[in-house]
Every structure is written in structure tokens, then in C-alpha cells.
């Protein structure tokens, strides 16, 4: 129904407008409807990165696109928040500064959400309270071992 869609659109849009500047340290992003009819319109993302001009997500850099998508994912997550969130290598295309802001957002959200993050990134490892190392010293057989950050580097878990 039209009202239901408008309601979802507005709720996700509002959260996206909050999340984006937290992740990028500024700027803004919002959803736009690509058509006129609420029942059939598509949705796309427009964003203005700090100091840059407004553009659609497709003209951004690899890392900028990825972090914008993360802002959208967390906005969708908040529509129906689960008690935990599993993230598989979400930080891979991000540089140092962006990973740090991303981790700060996770840290704040972790007061309500339990985050389990698979990562090769040393910054993300430093933000974790607990590090679980997976090894395959016996070929093809996975084992778990508790590690600290130096042991994680040693097992070449870092990229």
C-alpha cells in the first residue's frame, strides 16, 4: 500500500541521514524515489561527501560506495533490530580513517547489539573485546583458538 511504503521509505531515509555523517565524518546522504508512483517507484541513493559535490552512489570511489552501503545496511537493520549482527569482512575496502569511524559506530551500537565481525583488518581487531582465531594447521580441518592481537598477526590473519 502507498502509506506503508512511504512509512518505510521515511524511516530508512531518516536513519540513513543519521548514519552517513557518522561514518564519513561529515557530508550527507538520502534516498530518492526514481519514479512518480509510490506503488511502483524505484529507490536510489544520493550523497554529498565532505567537500565534494552531490552525486549518485555510482560515481563514488570503491571505498566510498562500500561505506555508503554500510550506512544503508545499518538503516535497514534498525527497521527490525536483531540482538546480534554478524559482519563478514565489511571493512575490506576501507582506509584507516574510515575503518576507525566505522568501528566507533559499531562500538556505540554494541551497547544494544552484539557484533561478531570477521576481519583481516588490524584496527577492527583492536576494537574487539574478544578475538577468536580460526586455524587450519591440519589441512582442510578448521579449529578454533583464543588469540590476542599479536597472535592474530602471527597467524597471518592480517591482510
Amino acid at each position: 500500500t502507498k502509506d506503508r511504503f512511504k512509512n518505510i521509505f521515511d524511516r530508512v531515509n531518516q536513519r540513513l541521514q543519521e548514519m552517513f555523517p557518522r561514518l564519513f565524518g561529515g557530508g550527507k546522504a538520502f534516498l530518492v524515489m526514481t519514479g512518480d508512483d509510490l506503488l511502483t517507484t524505484g529507490i536510489s541513493i544520493m550523497a554529498r561527501l565532505p567537500g565534494k559535490r552531490l552525486s549518485s552512489i555510482h560515481l563514488m570511489s570503491g571505498g566510498e560506495k562500500a561505506l555508503t552501503a554500510v550506512a544503508l545496511v545499518f538503516s535497514l537493520f534498525e527497521l527490525n533490530p536483531a540482538p546480534f549482527c554478524l559482519l563478514d569482512e565489511v571493512d575490506a575496502p576501507l582506509d584507516d580513517a574510515n575503518v576507525t569511524r566505522y568501528c566507533e559506530l559499531l562500538k556505540e551500537m554494541s551497547e544494544r547489539v552484539q557484533f561478531i565481525s570477521i576481519t583481516h583488518n588490524k584496527n577492527t581487531m583492536e576494537y574487539a573485546n574478544q578475538l577468536l582465531g580460526i586455524t587450519m594447521s591440519e589441512p582442510g580441518v578448521s579449529r578454533m583458538v583464543s588469540v590476542d592481537i599479536d597472535e592474530a598477526v602471527e597467524m597471518q590473519a592480517v591482510s
Binding site: R4, I8, F9, V12, T34, T41, G42, I43, S44, K65, A66, T68, A69, L72, V73, F74, L76, F77, N80, P81, A82, P83, F84, C85, L86, L87, D88, E89, V90, K107, V113, Q114, F115, I116, S117, I118, T119, H120, T124, M125, Y127, A128, N129, Q130, L131, L132, G133, I134, T135, M136, E138, P139, G140, V141, S142, R143, M155, Q156, A157, V158
Partner: protein, 167 residues
């Protein structure tokens, strides 16, 4: 409703019984390429009712440990999730339990079996336990490897559908 632990046995590369405990709210999972990290994500999706074809691999057989240079294939796969329900967030008949255990098991050439707190049940019982918890088929609680780049390439019509399904 925290996730207390995940237990795997015979599931993909986790041939030996392995328990992951998650006391903390910021957990990092690390290891070299191919050591099995994403297999843990597959395990959680599998036990919550995801059909095998949405995980890598097309058949039930692809989730059972299929052998290595030192081990022969396993005969079955089992994954169990244990949730803390001390805040009674899970409703229905399980509201009174402080811990909820969800388990799925499959034997080669067999069908999946599901268990809630040790009692066999149907897949739809698992799904209904999670209704209203934010976990379920359209939730954004599990962001698998590559999902972010797929989302970036999503066309406006598909993105609209994602929004509607997520609510």
C-alpha cells in the same frame, strides 16, 4: 537475547566438534584465507532455516565435511545455537526458558532434522520462534562476504523491494 555460543560438528571444514563462545558484545573472528571463518556464518544461516542452495554449494551434501588429505568424509553435520533468553524476549511457549537452544542436523542421503531445546520439531517451529526478534529470512542481522558489493550494484527497482521486505 544474546547469542551465547555456536557449536558445530561435521559442518563444512569444522569436522571436529567445536564450540564458539561469545561472552562479549564486540567479537572479532580472525584467521588466514580459507581457514573457515565464513563457514561459521554459513552455519548460523543454515541452522536458522536457510536452504543449502543459498549458501555456497548447491546441495545438502556440500554442508557435510567431505574429507581432506588426512581425514575421510563425515557422515553427518550438526549446528547448534544457544541463546540467552533471561530477558524473556523470545515469546510464546519459550518465554519461560533462560536459555534457548536451536539445532539442525543432517545425515548423508537424509533429510534435515530440527530441534528446539533438544526436542525435535519442524523447520517452521524454528522460524516462528524467531518472529519479532529481528532475525528471519529478510533480516539484516547477517551480512555475508560480498553482500555489500552486491548492494552497491542493486538497481532502483530491486532496492525498493529490499526496503519493503526488510520492514
Amino acid at each position: 537475547m544474546r547469542l551465547n555460543c555456536v557449536k558445530l560438528s561435521g559442518f563444512k571444514s569444522f569436522v571436529d566438534p567445536t564450540t564458539f563462545s561469545f561472552p562479549s558484545s564486540m567479537v572479532g573472528v580472525v584467521g588466514p584465507n580459507g581457514c573457515g571463518k565464513s563457514n561459521i556464518i554459513d552455519a548460523v544461516r543454515w541452522v536458522m532455516g536457510e536452504s543449502s542452495r543459498h549458501l555456497r554449494g548447491n546441495t545438502m551434501e556440500d554442508v557435510i565435511f567431505n574429507g581432506s588429505s588426512t581425514r575421510s568424509p563425515a557422515g553427518q553435520a550438526s549446528v547448534e545455537l544457544v541463546f540467552d533468553n533471561s530477558q524473556g524476549r523470545l515469546g510464546g511457549e519459550y518465554a519461560a526458558y533462560t536459555e534457548i537452544s536451536v539445532r539442525r542436523q543432517v545425515v548423508r542421503d537424509g533429510q534435515s532434522k530440527y530441534f528446539l531445546n533438544g526436542v525435535q520439531c519442524r523447520r517452521k517451529d524454528i522460524v516462528s520462534v524467531f518472529l519479532g526478534t529481528g532475525l528471519g529470512p529478510n533480516s539484516y542481522a547477517i551480512i555475508e562476504q560480498g553482500m555489500i558489493s552486491r548492494l552497491i550494484d542493486t538497481k532502483p527497482d530491486e532496492l525498493r523491494v529490499y526496503l519493503e521486505e526488510a520492514a
